[in-house]
Amino acid sequence: MAGVELTGVRKIYPNGAEAVRGVDMTIEHGEFIVFVGPSGCGKSTLLRMVAGLESITEGEISIDGRIINEVSPADRDVAMVFQNYALYPHMTVRGNMSYGLKNRGNSKAEIHEKVEEAAKMLRIHDFLDRRPQQLSGGQRQRVAMGRAIVREPKVFLFDEPLSNLDAKLRVQMRIEIKRLQRRMDVTSIYVTHDQTEAMTLADRLAVINDGRIEQMGAPLELYNNPTTLFVASFIGSPQINLVPVVFDGDKLISGDIALSGFKDLPTDADLVLGIRPDDLTQNGEGEVSLRVDLVEQHGAENLIYGALLGAAAEEGEETEICIKVDQQTLPKIDATLKLGVNKSRALVFRKDNGQRVL
């Protein structure tokens, strides 16, 4: 059974702005898909097109084989959780959860049963008779999810549902959403700009940039094998280190730095070397050196930020890089560290079009 299928989907607004530029995607039944990308990339528009809140300019969207382009949002069998929850302020929690069911003509007993069940699952049973204003942010979030759950939709849509919560609650709700989705086995599409959320929640994630899918795949696949510079720099925290380089047929050169051990790379183009902070290790015979600028202590590990010495400077700016070390390593500011590069994990991109060449 297919879940959601998007074919050549485009969105062009009446003013000519193109928000979605041709998206093809197949989402399997029960899959948790995350759309991730910077703000304004079109990810929310895409989600809202699935929801029916935006018209589809071109292409087709189908759910379970039924094309829904012209189907009204209420009849698409989808439920959405909004960023600001969009709870109905004049109704109680119970009222909020039953409203959609009532409109669908469910019987009173049926509604009661479904609401009770969802409330139990979400642990909001104690405030079923309260109004949204009397609830905390986390509780409102649960109610918003409850409202979606009782409908037993074919597809759950989440539009940045955690961005209004504080950090601790966000992590907690993230785990809960994932657990819930597993348990209910409902196809879900989740939009976020937070790459940690994206990585942790997704079965597969789609990195969206400028209205197009830059790359789609399992989180680790995207982390290890990004096909473009954009994906490499968007996925991973702290961000991947990027060093402008050229290839001389044998070595990657950046200013005074020369890294050997590379071959079959284009020599006629500017390249960018990408190395994740985990793939740089402190090492006495290292090939590159870092002048410590800042040490961030995260508890289990420290992040050291600093200038990559000798690297080709762009417009007078030194190339800043970051490495991950254990909690005991606390170098002094301005100290110089020798670093070894894990070349088997190095990524090389063309600078002009961002495509990966190694």
Partner: protein, 276 residues
Amino acid sequence: MTTPQALRSGYNHLVLILGVIFLVGPIALTFLSSTHTSATLARDSLQFSWGGHFLDNYSRVLTLEAGFTDSVTPLAMLKNSLIVGLGVATLTTGFSILSAYAVVFFRFKIAALVFWLVLVTLLFPLEARFVNTFEVAASLGLINTHAGIILPAVAAAIGTFFYRQYFLTLPEELLEAAIMDGTGPVKFFIDFIIPLSWPRTAAIFIISFMIGWNQYLWPLMISTDDSLYTLVRGIRLIGPTSGPGMALVIITIIPPFLLLLAFQKWAFNTLHVEQK
């Protein structure tokens, strides 16, 4: 409490007390004057003291039978005033909420233009267009009818404006969530707009009730029949400077005041603390 704070607090109270005196003074003066004989009032003008003719004046008003066929009684006038007041209030509120709903939620192309046209009518109060309005009312056969008194006062742009400002504060997602829950335009109006706007509605209802209730000039023009006398017009009939006239003024104030008391929680909340 330190001295400067006490001073400021005292000063604030002084300003408030003066304000209360300024607002309540005329009513108190009217009430006290309504306990004097017409002769006293004619000789010594308005009175600040208790006159002892309270019962005389008020019973005179309550048993009044005036007009060509004695059909102008307090009860008949009260009935007319209520019909006009409630009529104006109900229709104004209804039209206001519907027009604001249309202008805000149905993005037809000329919505902004329509809204501003509605607002411009504020610049043409009824008094400024009496002659034309009379012509229209006459051609529709509304002379000497309740409808004739009510309808021209119904187009109150201020109500549309009030509702519109409130609707604009409702988050877009509320509508979207409702749409996904299977709500259409009519259902959204009934299930969301009406319950969410209750406080606004109370405020607009009271204000337009008072506009209808206090009408004087227009009813005077459009109705010549004794059976359409309202309380406000009755004051003129009974003699505004007489003791019973003062009594009727006080009686006339009571129904709108009761309405205000009944709705005050909702109405004042809207007018003072705009929602957080």
